[in-house]
């Protein structure tokens, strides 16, 4: 009986083609496909230079090393090691990302020689004074959003993109929605537009210089975030991507922070 029903459903879906799929279903399907396409990286390390620019044109730089371990069942684990500015050198941050549940985060403070849990439900604020919020940088698990497929359109360099609106499903987000551009070929997220609580455009993220690593995983060399309301901007330059370096759970616990 169940099989019959399933068959019937499948037949109906295939006969109606994509038109039977609601925009929400299509959005979710693509988000899942994008997630799937990046699965199996197991771990990677990279260096990141973050450059902040204010409206007066002044810039400020932070240098961070990132290690990420692919999550199995739960979200990814990541470790950020701060090299610059000098007075926070040696500070390290450990993040266990989850789906709808707030992420767990700990910070190692070398000046105190102690690990402190970041005890806040509310992590929509700027990361190190930049235009990136935690929620922009954290692992983008599929279940963190509900989706709404908008359209398909060209998005530069001869690419075509799925344009998908996604609405944060977790509490305490700083956004009402995000509109993402994901290229149809390799599911690379090339652009995100963020809308604030009053649903006005807050900022735009453009990712460029994508390269493929380990024959499968695409990563950008440059991520540029422009805040349209304050005129401030932040760029992230990524270098030295290394995949499958053999990291394990033991490299991502509170003890590993102090190293």
């Amino acid at each position: 009986m169940k099989i019959k029903l399933l068959l019937a459903t499948l037949l109906t879906v295939s006969s109606l083609g994509v038109f039977a799929e609601t925009p929400a279903e299509k959005g979710l399907r693509i988000a899942k496909a994008a997630d799937l396409s990046d699965q199996g990286f197991s771990d990677f390390t990279a260096n990141m230079v973050m450059t902040l620019k204010n409206r007066a044109g002044k810039t400020s730089r932070r240098i961070i090393r990132i290690k990420t371990l692919e999550g199995k069942g739960d979200g990814d684990k990541s470790l950020s090691l701060f090299d610059e500015p000098a007075d926070v050198k040696g500070t390290a941050m450990l993040t266990f990302s989850h789906g709808l549940k707030p992420d767990d985060q700990w910070l190692y403070l070398p000046a105190l020689k102690r690990v402190k849990r970041i005890n806040s439900k509310n992590k929509s604020g700027p990361f190190m004074g930049s235009e990136f919020a935690f929620e922009d940088l954290g692992s983008q698990e599929v279940e963190k959003f509900t989706y709404n497929y908008l359209k398909e359109e060209p998005c530069g360099n001869g690419m075509k993109c799925h344009v998908i609106e996604r609405i944060p499903a977790y509490k305490y987000s700083g956004y009402t929605k995000q509109v993402t551009w994901i290229d149809t070929q390799a599911y690379r997220p090339v652009k995100v537009m963020y809308y604030d609580r009053k649903n006005s455009l807050l900022k735009t993220l453009n990712a460029t210089g994508f390269k493929q690593y380990a024959g499968k995983h695409w990563r950008p060399a440059l991520m540029a975030m422009q805040n349209h309301q304050t005129g401030k901007s932040t760029t992230l330059e990524w270098t030295n991507y290394k995949f499958k370096t053999g990291l394990s759970k033991r490299d991502f616990n509170k003890k590993s922070l102090a190293r």
Partner: protein, 790 residues
């Protein structure tokens, strides 16, 4: 030549009538380009160093444009579930305000405390309706002990609480076609005001026990517009009515009154139309121009029409009478228009762009009034029907007995008037500079009432901001820097003018305490640079959207902003405070010295800056006007003498001002130059008649004074009354820059008449020998052609 012109005007009156209307319409179309700019920044020229310092500060941190929403529970209790529920609800809704980038309130204050050896950062309270008595007490204790909140968002008596909404207005907005266009700031302000007023009525409906007060920079900008709308709807009709009544009483002619009405309306429309073509922005000061133009245009009409009517009453027909009237009035009307226009044009040296615009618009109005008076007025007046009436000679008789009295008492008048003048002028220094911008609006404007409430109950509206700049990246975590900033903060808090100091050191001491298990003995600055920097990093990572530290610390952690909130104090006190802070920094932390920047500072300097910049304007106007007088009177001696009736009235008026108000500032800095061109008209009329009698008719000084009184005495009296009345209407403006200017101008004009009547004649008689040393008896230009009699 003038007669030829006068005859042609009558001959081609239909053509001139149509041409005048066409000209007015053509100019008037320019009004479509007009728009009202209510940004307070327009009072400062782009190169104003204090404006630049303030803009730079805002570019480094965040903008200061804000709306303060103050909630006042009727029973005066903030810390109860009802009020806190309302605060939580309103805070949430406030995020929907257009252009808002930040909302600060008691409920979303990011309270940090130590929880199980970790630092917890969370809203001060959530789900306020569930709070029990213990929690309320705890929240109250935290709020009243938190320097970031007390006197800023919560009053000491805990009876009112504020929600502060910070806006960021984009200068460019998308045009919908992928490009951008310049945004309309006035529209942006009105969007915000509409939204917060909706919020206010929502609060009043949902929480009837709360009263709501709105203030802040955005509300102030909006008040500029609302004060102007109030003025336009109240002052303009009043001025118009007053003018029509005056003119009718004077001329006793319906057609004459109608003609005057058309000329003044045409002049105003032309002036503002041309302003539109020239791209002049409307602002509150510029909007005093309609009343000024109307008032001044009346004088031209009265001179021409009264001569015309008196000719008709003496038996001339309409056309002949008009030719005669134009013949005798052309030159004086021309001269007085030119001098008045020069006076207004001298406002171009003002440092405040809105007053330059006012000068230019008023000058265009005055010239337009002249053009319409000599081309349009004769045409329309001779076309309208007219009823003849007996001439009223009563006022003339009064005038001649008044002349006799002046001549009889000349010695005591000379001494008495000189004494009064000297005394009043010596009072000028009593005037104090005061440009308290909240007081630019009087109590009829809601912004003023709400702002007064807020400064009486919660916090100050005036502030000074200091951006403390260190040498290297991250230096704000340097213990030496922090110690200095803390010392500075502590010192500021001891100053009598200071209500609140917003400083980053309060955050550092609190974090240090939190990081040590909330041990009170650690409520002090972190000991090392690394500690401070890392605490800050941890704290920053815990903050939610919109509540970050970017408004206090720059991106390079090299500079920090200290905001000092002040009581409502006078400009003099602001300047004293600024100097005191400068000296303290010079002595105690010279390497971290910063200049104060804020609208309060900018307005504190604007009065003096404008007085200085207007000195050159007044001088230029004085020289030009005196040259015109020398030319018109054909005597440099009389020209020199005319300086007394031209300058003394302004001096005396400022002396009287010291007695009735004693506060001068931006608006009054332009009055001397502006009135110079107006008061000189009286002098021109009186002296030209006097000289005509003295030279042409060969009369002695005393007889010449009698002649001058009998010929122009009534006209001067009537036009002065009309001018004083017009400017007194302006004095009822809800906008202090306009009302102060109107009142002082009215005083100057009134004194000018008194001086012309009581001081000038005795002076002429006394100095007669010196004045006529040249013995060159030539006909003064003005005297020959000015024979306007009432």
């Amino acid at each position: 030549m003038v007669k030829k012109y006068a005859e042609s005007v009558i001959q081609f009156r239909w053509a001139l009538l149509i041409l005048s209307v066409l000209f007015m319409l053509l100019a008037g179309v320019g009004a479509k380009n007009l728009f009202f700019n209510n940004d307070y920044r327009i009072f400062f020229s782009a190169d104003d160093p204090r404006l630049q310092a303030f803009e730079e500060l805002q570019n480094t941190y965040t903008k200061n444009d804000n709306v303060i929403l103050v909630l006042a529970p009727k029973d005066g209790v903030v810390f109860k579930t009802e009020t806190l529920t309302a605060i939580e609800d309103v805070t949430e809704k406030a995020w929907q305000t257009p252009y808002s980038i930040r909302v600060d309130s008691l409920s979303n204050y990011q309270h940090s405390e130590s929880v199980e050896d970790d630092m917890s950062v969370a809203n001060l309270f959530e789900e306020a309706s569930e709070l029990d008595a213990d929690e309320l007490t705890r929240i109250k204790a935290i709020a009243l002990n938190e320097p970031l909140l007390l006197h800023r968002l919560i009053s000491e008596k805990a009876h009112v609480s504020a929600i502060n909404i910070t806006m960021e207005f984009p200068k460019q907005i998308p045009d919908g076609k992928g490009g951008t266009i310049a945004a309309d700031p006035t529209k942006q302000v009105s969007e915000v005001v509409t939204s917060v007023r909706e919020l206010k009525s929502y609060i009043e409906k949902t929480y009837p026990e709360l009263s709501v007060h709105l203030s802040g920079i955005v509300m102030m900008n909006n008040a500029f517009g609302e004060a102007t709308i109030y003025d336009m709807s109240h002052l303009l009709p009043m001025a118009l009515l007053l003018i029509l009544i005056t003119v009718f009483l004077l001329l006793r002619s319906v057609s004459g009154t109608l003609t005057t009405l058309l000329v003044i309306l045409f002049s105003v429309i032309t002036a503002f139309g041309l302003a539109g073509w020239l791209g002049i922005e409307l602002s509150s000061p510029v909007m005093s121009a309609p009343v000024i133009i109307m008032t001044l245009a009346v004088a031209d009409c009265v001179h021409i029409l009264s001569t015309w009517l008196s000719e008709i009453r003496q038996g001339s027909d309409k056309k002949t009478a008009m030719v005669e009237s134009l013949r005798v009035n052309f030159m004086p009307v021309f001269l007085t228009s030119v001098t008045t226009a020069i006076g207004f044009l001298s406002l171009n040296t003002s440092d405040a762009p809105p007053f330059r615009d006012l000068g230019n618009v008023a000058a265009m109005g005055v010239i337009a009034a002249f053009i319409f008076s000599i081309f349009f007025l004769p045409a329309i007046a001779t076309l309208l029907p007219i009823r003849e009436k007996k001439k009223d000679t009563h006022t003339l008789k009064i005038m001649s007995s008044f002349a006799e009295w002046v001549i009889a008492k000349q010695k005591s008048l000379l001494v008495g008037m000189s004494l009064i003048a000297v005394v009043l002028i010596s009072l000028i220094p009593i005037n104090e500079l005061n440009d308290v911008f909240v007081e630019y609006f009087d109590e009829r404007i809601e912004f003023r009432r709400d702002t007064d409430f807020i400064s009486q109950n919660l916090t100050g509206i005036y502030n000074i901001e200091y951006s403390i700049n260190t040498e290297n990246t991250g230096d704000i975590s340097d213990p030496d820097v922090l110690v200095n900033i803390k010392k500075f903060t502590d010192w500021l808090n001891t100053q009598p003018e200071v209500v609140h100091v917003n400083t980053v050191t309060d955050t550092f001491t609190r974090l240090n305490k939190n990081m040590h298990g909330d041990d009170k003995s650690y409520y002090k600055l972190p000991e090392s640079r690394e500690m401070a920097a890392q605490y800050l990093l941890l704290y920053e990572m815990s903050l939610p959207f919109g509540l970050d530290l970017n408004n206090q610390i720059d991106i390079d952690k090299k500079s920090t902003r200290i905001t000092v909130t002040l009581k409502t104090i006078s400009t003099k006190q602001v300047l004293e405070m600024e100097t005191r802070v400068d000296q303290w920094m010079e002595q105690n932390m010279p390497h971290l010295k910063a200049v104060g920047a804020s609208p309060t500072i900018m307005f504190a300097h604007i009065g003096m800056k404008n007085i200085i910049s207007m000195i050159s304007g007044t001088t230029i106007a004085l020289v030009l006007i005196s040259l015109i007088l020398v030319f018109a009177l054909k005597s440099w001696r009389y020209g020199l003498l005319s300086l007394i009736p031209n300058l003394v009235p302004a001096g005396m008026a400022f002396g009287i001002w010291a007695l009735i108000s004693g506060e001068i500032g931006l608006a009054l800095s332009v009055v001397t130059a502006m009135t110079l061109g107006i008061v000189v008209d009286d002098t021109i009329h009186f002296l030209s008649k006097y000289l005509r009698a003295r030279r042409e008719k060969g009369l002695g000084a005393e007889d010449a004074v009698r002649y001058a009184f009998s010929t122009v005495g009534v006209a001067l009296w009537v036009t002065s009354v009309a001018l004083v009345a017009g400017f007194l209407v302006l004095a009822t403006s809800s906008f202090k820059l306009n009302s102060g200017m109107g009142l002082l101008t009215a005083i100057v004009i009134a004194i000018a008449l008194i001086v012309d009547f009581l001081l000038l004649p005795p002076l002429l008689i006394k100095l007669d020998a010196w004045l006529n040393k040249d013995k060159k008896v030539t006909e003064p230009v003005a005297a020959v052609i000015s024979e306007n009699q009432i």
